[in-house]
């Protein structure tokens, strides 16, 4: 009797270990990277959506427009 109770208790305690993840999805797991481009007509020209190197180059070029010393000097 004691053994059966002990086995039952162990089963009850261990049942928590088998619980599955109840989250809907892991946050951001389905977020596509920015370099893949947007599905709208606002994507500007000068780079190729899907090409990471091209996107990085575009970001650098765009960042440089914030440096007005490039324009004045």
């Amino acid at each position: 009797m004691k053994r059966i109770m002990l086995a039952g208790l162990s089963l009850m305690i261990l049942s928590a270990c088998g619980e599955t993840d109840q989250r809907l999805t892991k946050a951001g797991s389905n977020d596509k990277q920015a370099y893949t481009g947007a599905n709208n007509p606002h994507v500007i020209k000068g780079w190729t959506p899907g090409d990471k190197a091209s996107w990085e180059s575009q970001m650098r070029t765009r960042s440089l427009t914030q440096n007005e010393y490039n324009k004045s000097n």
Binding site: N30, Q33, A34, G37, Y69
Partner: protein, 211 residues
């Protein structure tokens, strides 16, 4: 590519609120929610009053991510801290943890119930399809995937607010500081991205700079 960062140059900010307006317009942010705002520091102190534009700084070790009980935050490869509104429960813990007061909570409904958290996305949208209507409705425009930088930084009339690749914006700011010989303090930079590895490092004296 380095990670995305914001820098606000307090020497240049004229408190025009152009960044705030650009952000609200670009993302159609509802009433009561300000993803970006301009604050005044040393208010009333003669000669020391400065204005800075503040929003989510997309911290290196983001405290909001650490305290979120439902793990709704994630970081993109570019270092942008985003969140999933389908997971957020609007508890407000992130609001207490954030040193910049970035998380915002819309008050919707008859009793002004607190909604899901909303914050600056560095114009990188959210987990929905890039550039889709669903993404726009929840998170605003995804300018990064359109090949653009954040609207607030690109709209800034005095270029006080710089946004983009961390190395590049730091270079732009460094050039300015060297040219003008003052105003090297970057408010919030250390809090968001950590302090310099060598705390004794000093900028070269202004006298040595070639003009």
């Amino acid at each position: 590519m380095a990670r995305m960062k914001f820098i606000c140059d307090a020497e240049r900010c004229i408190e025009c609120n152009g960044c705030v307006t650009a952000c609200k317009n670009e993302h159609e942010v509802p009433w009561g929610v300000n993803r970006r705002r301009v604050i005044t520091i040393n208010d009333g102190v003669q000669g020391q009053e400065k204005s800075i534009s503040v929003a989510c700084m997309h911290c290196s070790d983001a405290p909001c991510m650490a305290v979120c009980p439902v793990d709704c935050f994630y970081r993109t490869d570019e270092g942008v801290v985003l969140h999933d509104k389908d997971i957020c429960i609007g508890c407000g813990y992130c609001s207490y943890a954030c040193p910049f007061g970035a998380p915002q909570f819309p008050s919707n409904g008859t009793f002004g119930l607190r909604g899901k958290m909303d914050k600056c996305t560095f114009c990188a949208g959210g987990p929905e399809e890039n550039g889709s209507k669903a993404e726009f409705d929840k998170y605003g425009r995804n300018r990064l995937s359109e090949g653009k930088l954040p609207a607030c930084a690109e709209m800034c009339s005095t270029k006080a607010l710089l946004g983009g690749d961390g190395d590049m914006v730091a270079d732009i700011f460094r050039t300015r500081v060297l040219k003008r010989g003052k105003g090297s303090e970057v408010w919030g930079w250390g809090t968001a991205y950590g302090v310099a590895t060598n705390p004794d490092a000093k900028a070269p004296a202004v006298m040595e700079i070639k003009r």
